[in-house]
Symmetry: C2
Subunit: 231 residues, 2 copies
């Protein structure tokens, strides 16, 4: 009982992190595993995904998974952090634009325009981006059934997003402080998108779309923009 290996692996994944000049092959493997995990977790969720399937996709075996990430749960959390990272990078422009407008003295119409930009960017990212569908699967699932990554997404993605949009909506309506109503509108607006991702199959079937391409995205954005126009 209480073997050295398990302690080392569980507490701080690989000791390698403390070392400055580690081998490059290790990093490549780590990334390959992470990528495979994103695919597998994204397709099947946490429970349904087996570490073996991840190892297979990463063209390796089981031990490296624990070697680099400590456990299945550690790997899952690493996926969540990776998703947040990529997400932030992509939305960086739209977000910093909005932040600037929120912090400065701006007209309702400026705020409205920023909100539209944010929403359009989110739609393209969440629903349109093929490379991001897997990440969105993980996000959507974590929303409807909080798992090991809930807190990561909540604190780094949802709460900031809700607050940002609520402030913009508030500005549009000329409120001095953000009202409960505005915050609720923000939640509903933001909720629509992962929902739409999750209900992709439902929506596609109901709309009789053969796929979700440019024209479909544009229609969706148009409808949302019109909704924003009427705030």
């Amino acid at each position: 009982m209480m073997r050295m290996d398990s302690i080392r692996a569980a507490v701080a994944p690989p000791g390698r992190h403390a070392v400055t000049n580690a081998s490059r092959k290790g990093d490549e493997s780590r990334l390959r595993i992470l990528e495979a995990a994103l695919v597998e977790f994204g397709a099947g969720g946490y429970r349904s995904t087996t570490t073996r399937s991840i190892a297979d996709r990463a063209k390796t075996t089981l031990p490296p998974l624990n070697y680099y990430f400590g456990s299945k749960e550690g790997l899952y959390r690493a996926c969540a952090e990776e998703i947040v990272l990529r997400y932030s990078e992509i939305t960086n422009d739209a977000v910093s634009g909005a932040t600037q407008i929120i912090q400065s003295v701006s007209s309702p119409e400026t705020a409205r325009s920023a909100l539209k930009t944010l929403v359009a960017a989110s739609v393209r990212l969440i629903i349109g981006s093929p490379v991001f569908i897997l990440g969105n699967g993980i996000i959507a699932r974590e929303l409807s059934e909080p798992g090991p990554a809930f807190d990561i997404f909540y604190e780094q993605l949802w709460l900031p997003g809700i607050e940002r949009n609520a402030k913009l909506i508030s500005r549009i309506k000329g409120e001095v402080d953000v009202s409960a109503e505005s915050r609720l509108q923000s939640i509903l607006l933001i909720s629509s998108l992962p929902s739409f991702h999750a209900r992709r199959r439902v929506a596609q079937k109901a709309m009789q779309w053969s796929g979700i391409g440019e024209s479909e995205l544009n229609l969706l954005i148009e409808v949302l923009h019109r909704q924003i126009d009427q705030i």
Copy 2:
């Protein structure tokens, strides 16, 4: 191999169904198991829920589960059908009212009012009803990760709901035929609700609500009604 028992159990759960005068105790057990399954599946989803936990909650053992429902999946599907049944019963009034308005020659304002009634009823059912939270958990999960019950919900719940609301929206706008836009608006409107259920924790945290009671529901309905006013 190919034993009688398994064939009988898998194809048509119990032969009992063909019999007119079966024992009452069997029905009670069946219901108790179904109720327990609704709780367990609702709390944990299909994969995470074990047949043992269901049997425990139903204060019985494993064999009766297969005896009455053939398999874990059969039990899950039975839960979905039960949910659809209860759901339909509760929304029956609002739905038949809306149907009547759709089929007759009605003014935009009549349609708008019917849509508001439908949405308010849905909000109370999906978000407000404590007895229905478990069913909604199953529905929400099945939306974001299609499982054995997806088709049941799609055909009996979502598609009819989307079509109904789309027709009302279309009527409100005075369209002759239901436009793609109206249908999309309908999807977005309907999507908000299970989303809000799923994101209950997120919303509650973000709104700093201690719970979702009458006043919170009313605020939510108010925001949605205002949205409908601006269609």
